[in-house]
Subunit: 259 residues, 2 copies
Amino acid sequence: MPTATPNRHAFADALKRGLYEAIFRRRDIREFISDPIPDAVLARVLIAAHHAASVGFTQPWDFIVVRSVEQRRRVKEIFEAEHAKNAAQFTGERREKYLKLKLEGILEAPLNLIVTCKPDRFGPAVLGKTSIRDVEIYSACLAVENMWLTARAEGLGMGWVSIMRNDALAEIFGIPADVIPIAYLCIGYVREFPDRPILASADWAQRLPPKSLLHFDSWNDATDRTSSAAESLLKKIDDHSIWLSIFPEDSPTKPPSRE
Amino acid sequence: MPTATPNRHAFADALKRGLYEAIFRRRDIREFISDPIPDAVLARVLIAAHHAASVGFTQPWDFIVVRSVEQRRRVKEIFEAEHAKNAAQFTGERREKYLKLKLEGILEAPLNLIVTCKPDRFGPAVLGKTSIRDVEIYSACLAVENMWLTARAEGLGMGWVSIMRNDALAEIFGIPADVIPIAYLCIGYVREFPDRPILASADWAQRLPPKSLLHFDSWNDATDRTSSAAESLLKKIDDHSIWLSIFPEDSPTKPPSRE
């Protein structure tokens, strides 16, 4: 039995809940209402982004706040061309389904945001960078998740428009050659946060069972998966009671809405 | 003035606080105590990771739970060789400082975790993937940030060992050629969560002023930065009162500990 000691840094259940709520209720949003985002709210989201982890504390991110409708129209044109390319990758029913999906809110959202990565901010030598090339890019992605979660808690929807061309973004926004655009984001208030991910409701893809993604001590773990340690963890993964102290209104047969 | 309507999806301040606490108190941890992690806690962290955003809902991540000491010894050897390479990038005082830092807890932590990315999980055509090559890798990074934040809320420290070689990880853990190791993580309980990032305390790097990372409508925004919209946001970034409803014990002159 774990003693109280190692857990003394754990948050109270009510605080844990705020974090898990944000994680389970976050959605990739493409429909926005035009109400403006108060500066205080946007400031909190941006400061949260800046507090993501970064390799060697390089803080390689920058944020371009895009309000200009003219700039956004140019981005939308790039999206349209890329969208046609993306559609061409699918055939038949899958293609019809694809074409029905709304995949961006570039012009409707009150705000667009670009997160970039400047790998050599503090020079070429980076603590934590040896053989893995893209470590700073990974850090910039962590900042995006912080934004996504805080946006959700603030009642803001966010969507990542990855159907995009980085060279076009660089041209439109004058981004220097040593800076890599990572994420083009639309952000704004929404009428609804859907209960389920939009691509799950549209029957494009379903959430994989978390158990299917776990490996033990090696990728091919035919033996290790049946060890008692592995079996015990796999059992907990499906055990709704692990959520009860954090989501007390949920009964063991009604887990928190976390598809 | 924004009406109450757009904010109706916002979390109550107490719930927001849980998320912001996790973001501001998260640290890159390299010193662990050996107390085991209860399976219920580990299950919550892994499920949270699996609920990150992913391009086209591809959920490209897998998680290898590493308990084997033998496997970890092999990883540690790779780290040592890479660590020497990383040290060689620095000279003089900077190098001395580098060599004093503890940069991993591979053997001390009760658990190591590997997050991988399988870009073609659902085949080569991915909704949301056109000209940007690494979109699935970006998604896998979002999962890492969810783990880092939930680990913190659960009282667990986590550290990302990026001083590593992916080909060595692939060999040690039998990771297939079509799967990319993204993050090698150490995770466990800690004696302390430092108030400041370790690399800030060690005077390796300091937190950049968030204002210096903001751009308005274009990268070179000499004009746009002085627009009234930009000035208003920049003012809020430094205004501690934007945190008061969420961290009510903090006075305007004492912001939440968020270095």
